[in-house]
């Protein structure tokens, strides 16, 4: 058995060395050896898209909570405005990023004025057009507000 163990052992060691050296064997001279770290631009965009997703998800969740009675009418009206402002701000911040291209077409699609389905973890966040049970909130919605574009393509 010892002979076999020896052969297998040596084979293992050699294989290990080869696999570890592989990147250097494949590219003895690398033009670009930099690690693909996100650039400052990309980091910023990533942070902004996380913020946008958070804001839109919060809007959807608020609407759903209101529909299921966790949030009362008064609280709903109070919380809706600031959330919408946050979402709009996040979207605007992303738009200002150069070369922003998450597969989005360059025309802003029209928003279908229908009640948004309840928030779920699966679909991309959708415009928070919600049926208002009472007059729209007082807090001045930003002029650009109603045209929150669809940030992701529908599949």
């Amino acid at each position: 058995m010892s002979g076999l163990s020896l052969v297998l052992g040596v084979g293992l060691a050699v294989g290990a060395v080869v696999l570890v050296a592989l990147p250097f064997l494949r590219e003895p001279v690398a033009r670009d050896d930099r690690l693909d770290a996100p650039t400052a631009d990309e980091s910023l965009r990533l942070g902004l898209s996380e913020e946008r997703d958070r804001a839109l998800a919060a809007l959807k969740e608020l609407e759903f909570d209101h529909r299921t009675g966790k949030v009362g009418d008064e609280d709903y009206r109070e919380l809706l405005g600031p959330l919408r402002r946050e979402a709009a701000a996040a979207l605007r911040a992303i738009d200002r990023q150069p070369r922003y291209r998450e597969g989005m077409s360059f025309e802003m699609p029209e928003i279908a004025p229908e009640p948004a389905p309840p928030p779920d973890e699966g679909t991309p966040p959708e415009p928070a057009i919600v049926p208002e049970p009472s007059p729209p909130p007082d807090e001045a919605t930003p002029p650009v507000e109603p045209h929150i574009p669809e940030p992701f393509p529908q599949e």
Binding site: S5, A13, P23, A30, D36, L46, G69, P118, P119, F152
Partner: protein, 650 residues
Amino acid sequence: MAELGRAALVVSLGLSLYGLVAGAAAAVQNRRRLATSARNALFTAFASTLIAAAVLAVALVRHDFSFSYVASHTNRTLPTAYALSAFWGGQEGSLLLWLLVLTGYGAFAVAVNRRLLRDLVAWVVPVLSGIATFFAFMLVAVASPFDTQTAPVDGAGLTPSLQNPYMVAHPPMLYLGYVGLSIPFAFAAGAMLSGRTDERWIVATRRWTLVAWTFLGFGQLLGAHWAYMEVGWGGYYAWDPVENAALMPWLAATAFLHSVMVQERKGMLKVWNMVLVALAFELSVFGTFLTRSGVVNSIHSFAKSPIGAWFLAFVVISSLFSVALILWRLPLLKARTKLESALSREALFLYNNLLLVALSLTILWGVMFPILTELFKGESRTIGRPYYDFFLRSFGLPLLLLMGIGPLIAWRKASARQLVRTLLWPIGTAVVAGALLVAAGAGSSTPGLIAYTFSAFVLATIVVEVVRGTRATGSLAKLVSRNRRRYGGYIVHAAIVLLAIGIAGSSAYGSSREQRLVPGQSMRLAGYTLTYRRIVHPYNPNAYETRAVLDVTGRWQGAVMSGDNQYRNPPEPSREVGIKTDWLRGEDLYVIADDINPTTGVVYVKVLVKPLVNLIWVAGLVFLLGSAVALWPDAREQRRLVVRLAPVRA
């Protein structure tokens, strides 16, 4: 073949060390090829550890007693399945299992994330390799499974009580849990080391944490079930240090699972989450230190072993590393938003976290007390069961209540009036349930009554959630399918409620009686009358079985047997209890027949009635279901995340 095993472990050690050093260098100096090389080292370390594991497994199955490990944990008559399970039955083998799972998980996590999270993974590789280096070093230098000897004719065999399907599954499941907690830890450390402020590490490790947590939780239930049936003292959890070793990281991981939700949604609790994930990881390694080192008196401990010192050193060094890392990156971990109201879902998550961590730490104190008193006072003092029961009640009951309120309270700021309105039905249900329970006699135990009432409350809140959600979405299937994590979580909450009811019922409302019986004599307990008839010796090829037969009348009609087995190979006795389960009432009649005297026929019988204890085991299944739902992959969400994370340049 043992030389191959040893060589494979040396290769694993070398590769892990390379992964640590080269990986760290590559990440610091931004070198792509070196980073890939380090990553390959991690993958190859898994392969070589797998080879070592295969060598041990084959030796176990072939009863190769030239391996000291095989000789001390198996014998020729052992069935193959149990021979294989001896892999993790001893110190060295279980360390090998740990390394195998670690490198396996690590390789998988890194492979899956290597494209989308390149910079993060560049740091994850050295962290995981560092942990692997420690375990590989232990296996090569301190506790090798491949020590050889002149093969004895037959091995020592496996303790009969371990020859049991539960004991085959229990350790690997726990390890899949313990070791799994290294992955979120490594990614969290990676996030801090790479200096990023985004939440990618949370999203990437969400599933890992959930899987590890599920295995750890279910593994503990398996252990409890085995203890209930096999060890036979009438209980399922003894607050033994080794049991606590698994419970503490599980509680920390539960807290972590909840607070990452807050970080994802609100950008809060960033520092807290880093501390929590490090705590969960350290507790899991500390737990295994307790189990192995023999430093605390426990029925489970492996022999007092030098391995303890090494593990302690590793825990200390990795804790210092985590603390230093968090302190260094403190400026990056500033919260985006603040807690606005003490009455909001964020606040409730915070309370939940505080209670869970407090419970975990009080258990830790209880476990450490003997060691600390020995160090500082010269003599050791052990903390008994009442301490643990007290704190389990003090922290567990409020946690139960929070489980009900949390899902129904709004984010940011909830008005008390709205909350009461939402909770009206559940509160009403709880009050009615409480009244009915008192009428049924549950008032005999105040904590028990509180537990039951709170449980009714939580179940009612889950029903309210589901009903309202279904109404808003249109169909239950659509509701669950679109919110898998949330509704999976609700199912898990229901499992915890069942667990609470089962624990409350069997401890607060159970009863027991001991009596000396001669043939023909009866004893009565809680509506059962047991009459001792005779002694029998059922046939068993591996053991001499002695059983006292008792006829039962009253709440249940039938016969129950209990006694002991005298095994032949290895020659060891074991206690065999008789359990009769009434599935309709969920209660168990638990009979322990002791000291059976074959000449006089005298037997000492202890009978326990344990109401609702079977809900605990049912809870385990519901727990699995909830986790499965929460883990169910969601194609749309996956796509969205890929789009979000894909680099802009093609």
